[in-house]
Symmetry: none
Subunit: 203 residues, 4 copies
């Protein structure tokens, strides 16, 4: 699939170089709104353009790997860690929304990944796979809460989860777009958001 499929083995220095290239690619994608020029990445990473092809099969493969890397970081920060073990559903989700907001505020790639879904099949496949995984997780999350009696069983998780996730993403995009209405009172916005979710999930 991506260059990872070949399971290339690199030494220590090589791994650092690979990371430098990935970081430069992320920066370039952010600056150019989802586009990327090999020469610029090479410049930023302080390597020759040819070297990039030791680590990535093609320009497209580099983009895919960068997006994959972005999702890895996002997942690590927002998804994988259960921020409040033992807490109820809505408290946990609130923590996640908070962490999402702080993540996208500092990661330059966030806006691009959330806005411009790629045309190139290889990259599109990565995004599709990761988004589907998020959705799947959210659905299982809700189903579990329903089993526990936290959420009403009459709610269809397959409808509610896309709506919540799409809603949250749109909100994040609005935030990134410097919407004045949303950015002036961040705390109130979060309260409103969670209240919306709570009502929507019948809590």
């Amino acid at each position: 699939m991506s260059s990872e499929a070949k399971a290339k083995v690199f030494g220590q220095k090589a791994k650092q170089t690979r990371q430098r290239i990935l970081a430069a690619a992320a920066q370039e994608l952010a600056e150019r709104g989802g586009d990327l020029e090999i020469a610029n990445v090479a410049n930023t990473a302080q390597v020759s353009s040819g070297l990039i092809y030791r680590y990535f099969d093609s320009r497209t493969d580099l983009i895919a790997a960068t997006v994959e890397d972005f999702y890895d970081q996002y997942d690590q920060w927002v998804i994988d860690i259960n921020p409040l073990p033992g807490a109820d559903w809505i408290s946990r989700e609130r923590a996640r929304v908070e962490r999402s907001i702080s993540f996208i505020r500092k990661h330059p790639l966030a806006k691009v990944v959330f806005l411009n879904r790629q045309k190139e099949p290889l990259v599109a496949a990565v995004e599709s796979r990761r988004l589907a995984a998020h959705l799947q997780l959210a659905i299982e999350n809700v189903l579990l809460a329903q089993e526990r009696g936290e959420i009403d069983s009459s709610i269809d998780a397959y409808v509610a989860c896309p709506m919540i996730m799409g809603g949250i993403r749109e909100l994040l995009v609005q935030l990134l777009s410097d919407s004045p209405q949303l950015n002036k009172k961040p705390h109130k916005m979060l309260d409103q958001t969670m209240a919306f979710m709570a009502r929507a999930m019948g809590l």
Copy 2:
């Protein structure tokens, strides 16, 4: 700015040609996932590639015009027409969601426009403007309902509207992606969706 700015005047035949090009561009954008090649559009529209430049300033201008055209149709079908004059907020919204679903099912460009936001400033501007207009309409819509007492005043429209619109869009995308969970019982899905919205808006 866009081709409209020039206010070109065309004869009858010319208008038809322009429409054929727009339709071909829509088809090409749909087939290539948001990308477009002038030569292919010319082929599909049965015109020479040079002719396209009599009607549109540039490739980007053509894309912008096509997207604009798409939104015109969407608005005409979903937004502008008040499907149920005198009905309450949730009934009207249900009608709009229904019309949205039928529209995207038949318009090949829907998936692309909803998924791939374009990088080119000119096109991005069109999309941004039309989306902002939709959002603005939704917000005014809610504020009005709040004045009328239909919707609780404590709900912040600037949070709730993006969430609902993003949620609906994500749902539409899932529908177009042949999600088996959503497509098997269309009517139940719609009920679930509207129930979600009703709860979320405190109805």
Copy 3:
């Protein structure tokens, strides 16, 4: 296979341009010993490099088409025309060897095509096909002469024809390489060559 397979239709001027490119490619191949650079071909043909791709799918396709063109000319000059209708086998072959010699002396591509068989599959396929056709023709030629009683039936055409054709080609290559021994008395060389063939074929 080559660009001919697409059966593109070109206007009058376009055909001339295509011919100019083919001629330039032949010259470039001759000058660089079988190699070819698009930019140089474009320069020689007085066209932009991009234009070449309107007429040929790729650099390799251009080379293949050029070689094909070379063989077309060669066949027209040496093979297709029966130089001496009604004459006996050896007289006809003598005429063909003469025509071969005059052809390769004036066609700049001859040396390259006869010496450097190409690695690129597309070009190799062209050469293989054309050479096989020549060999097939020669074999049928001999078989016919054997039926007529001109050539002894005990001679195996499938052995004799490759040997004669390979021998002639080697001789042509020697001629092109300015072998002093062969070039000083052209007429005697031809006599010797035909005598060799006559003996070899039992005449």
Copy 4:
């Protein structure tokens, strides 16, 4: 000029490494029809790509050395050894043709060396020199036989030798190309070939 000119002195292990590289280069040339990539040779030879430059000055030098090596083996097997001391011309040549056939059947490089004459001057020079040496030997061979009265003096060795050598080479190529007509009865083919040569040389 070539790596031989430097007269590098290598230890025992080094000689083995050099041989491994040469063998890998031969294999690569055979597999890719006359082309060669340093990285692939290094892979096959189980050495790093950098190491190749300890033994050969350049890629071209490596190819030249490989071809030289091929001719050394060929000459040792076919030319240098006088297979039948004291025998007459045609018997000796028959032995050589037999040995040629067995050699090219087992050496993977044979087809490539006989078919693709290289463009790079250094390699072309090697091929040209070795071929010229072969031709020179054949000519002297014939002249000697003529002095002895074995072969008729009216035959021009400078015409007959290229024709025979070119003919034999073409035959070998046909054999390697799996020509069904030639491969089904190897012994008869050899008889026919030698009969052809005998007639051609007036024997």
